[in-house]
């Protein structure tokens, strides 16, 4: 053990810096203790108690900075000094690190990171709006994950942002990909030439995942929150997002994703495309009229998957006919599987239960299934007459969005915590009229990190419960995500298939398969 020391004169640092520097030095291998303190009488006495009071320190004054290191040998001590010096120098150069101390407010954070350009806000809605406004006033772009932000506040925020060239993504915006970085719930995608503006989180995820899986890439994916394209907000951010992508030299193709915007908003979008947007635009307005999209000057897609495939084809310079062929092939496959699966059912099994974690994915599934099996029940149904009396009790064909308030108050989102859905899976399996259980699995940052580990056993158990009663339940799954996602898409697919589920390549394909099985069994409306 050696004790070495250095005295620095005329250098002053705040207490947190000195503590962190000393602490970091002791973390080095072979360093037992370290101190970086002013040479006051009392500090010297602590150095003495710690066995680090060197002779050279004895005459030091209050304004001297004493650096003492107790290490296993000279060399280690020198390393520690070098590290301490480096850290103090960095501090003098005004590069500040938060270390173990977290700032308590936006202003505090800006002290540490004065060149920040984005704030992500996910605190309770009643405060989120004000925090967002503060951020905008500091010239920062905002990702507003929180929901329950009052409408008036959203309008105020977006008007201010528009006037100041800033982004407000939200409220209730769960996904965005900016400069290649996944914000909140987002997938790891390829970087490329396709830009997305989306008023739907899982819509953005599905489209960006399909694009990546097809070998094309995303330049920017801007979320606006669902309320943006409604009448009151008037599409402010949707429009600004489109303009930004038009100006961005790295974006060559633009995809628009949302539920059908309010007619006034749609008109603004259409006018913008006609007057200012020169880049090709693909539009998927779920449940909307494709002719409307066409007359707006965009290429219409009828599903999220299609929108992704069209954009990818454009980006890869391929003809749009190629993917059309692909979809035709797939339709054939789906019908074959549906045929097979409808033959292994017990009498009485004829309904589908869709248990969804992504709201837009649920909507898309309902839209597609409506064409095949008619109206379905749900907690957020397409037709209000088909609203479940009790969101927890399914009826005939039912599609449930487990991300809705009644399921999420006081608990984590179902994309993160599978407990609730797993419970529902077992319940539905006990219902003798159920033939198909339809599930979305959303990968990416912010989602459950081991979805296969948690979902596969529930699927297995559910099938066993049904088997004991002589019933075979078809589990149809889709995985929204890419191979680059932390959950490892391939692994998850295998786990689900091993548990007996059929994994389809997209949400649209999964919904169609489930619906055809039901149709074959006579469960259509």
């Amino acid at each position: 053990m050696v004790v070495k020391g250095i005295i620095k004169k005329g250098e002053y640092y705040d207490s947190v810096t000195l503590m962190l520097v000393a602490r970091d030095a002791t973390k080095l291998d072979g360093v037992e203790d370290a101190a970086v303190v002013m040479g006051t009488g009392q500090n010297k006495s602590i150095l003495e108690t710690s066995g680090m009071l060197l002779d050279m320190f004895k005459d030091a004054t209050d304004s001297d900075l004493l650096i003492a290191v107790k290490a296993k040998d000279e060399r280690t001590a020198e390393e520690a000094f070098a590290k301490i010096d480096e850290m103090l120098k960095a501090k003098r150069a005004k590069t500040q690190e938060a270390g173990e101390y977290m700032p308590k407010s936006l202003e505090g954070a800006l002290e540490f990171m004065p060149d920040a350009n984005m704030v992500i806000i996910s605190v309770a809605g009643k405060y989120a709006g004000d925090e967002a406004m503060k951020a905008l006033e500091h010239g920062l772009h905002v990702m507003l994950f929180s929901d329950n932000v009052p409408l008036e506040k959203e309008i105020e925020l977006k008007k201010y942002a528009r006037d100041n060239g800033l982004l407000v993504m939200g409220p209730d915006c769960g996904t965005a990909i900016i400069n290649g970085a996944p914000l909140c719930f987002a997938n790891v995608v390829n970087r490329g030439k396709i830009g997305i503006v989306a008023a739907s989180g899982t819509g953005l995820q599905e489209v960006s995942s399909v694009i990546t899986n097809e070998g094309a890439g995303i330049s920017q994916a801007i979320g606006t929150g669902g309320r943006d394209v409604k009448k009151d907000v008037g599409g402010i951010m949707f429009i600004e997002g489109m303009k930004a992508l038009e100006e961005d030299p790295e974006t060559n193709y633009i995809v628009l994703v949302s539920k059908p915007p309010h007619p006034e908003v749609l008109e603004k979008v259409a006018n913008l495309i006609k007057s200012e947007i020169k880049k090709p635009v693909v539009g998927i307005f779920l449940g909307g009229d494709p002719d409307v999209v066409k007359s707006a000057g965009a290429i219409p897609a009828s599903t999220l998957e299609e929108a992704g495939l069209i954009a990818a084809s454009l980006a890869k310079g391929k003809s749009l006919d190629d993917f059309k062929k692909l979809l035709e092939e797939r339709e054939k496959e789906i019908l074959e599987i549906a045929d097979r699966e409808s033959k292994n059912k017990k009498d009485g099994q004829k309904f589908v239960r869709g248990l969804y974690t992504g709201g837009t994915l649920c909507d898309e599934a309902m839209l597609l299934s409506r064409k095949i099996i008619g109206e379905v029940y749900g907690n957020a149904p397409l037709n209000p007459e088909f609203k479940l009396k009790d969101s927890w009790i399914s009826q005939e064909n039912t599609f449930v969005d487990l991300g809705e308030d009644e399921f999420t108050v006081g608990r984590p989102h179902p994309m993160i915590d599978f407990t609730l859905r797993n419970k529902k899976i077992l319940e539905e399996a006990k219902d003798p009229s159920v033939a198909v259980i339809l599930l979305d699995v959303v990968l990416g940052y912010g989602s459950n990190m081991t979805p296969g580990d948690e979902l596969a056993p529930a699927i297995k158990e559910a099938r066993e419960i049904a088997k004991k009663d002589g019933r075979n339940i078809t589990f149809v799954c889709s995985i929204t995500g890419t191979d680059k996602d932390p959950q490892d898409r391939k692994k998850v697919k295998k786990q689900l298939e091993d548990a007996g589920a059929i994994v389809m390549p997209s949400n649209a394909a999964a919904a169609k398969l489930a619906s055809y099985i039901v149709k074959n069994l006579g469960g259509a409306r």
Binding site: I120, L166, G446
Partner: protein, 58 residues
Amino acid sequence: MRKISDLFKQELKVINIGLLSFKESLDDVGVKVIQVDWRPPAGGDEEVMDALKKLLGK
């Protein structure tokens, strides 16, 4: 006059106010992000009770 598209040319530097997992995912991909240990501002009794509950409940 600043534009949104200016952001696309900069290095993203993020301040995260709220759920820690959102910071962690950015850490993973190497984006500079700082976490704010946020508390509700001066507010009504509800927030105070919440604050006290957390402190007393420990």
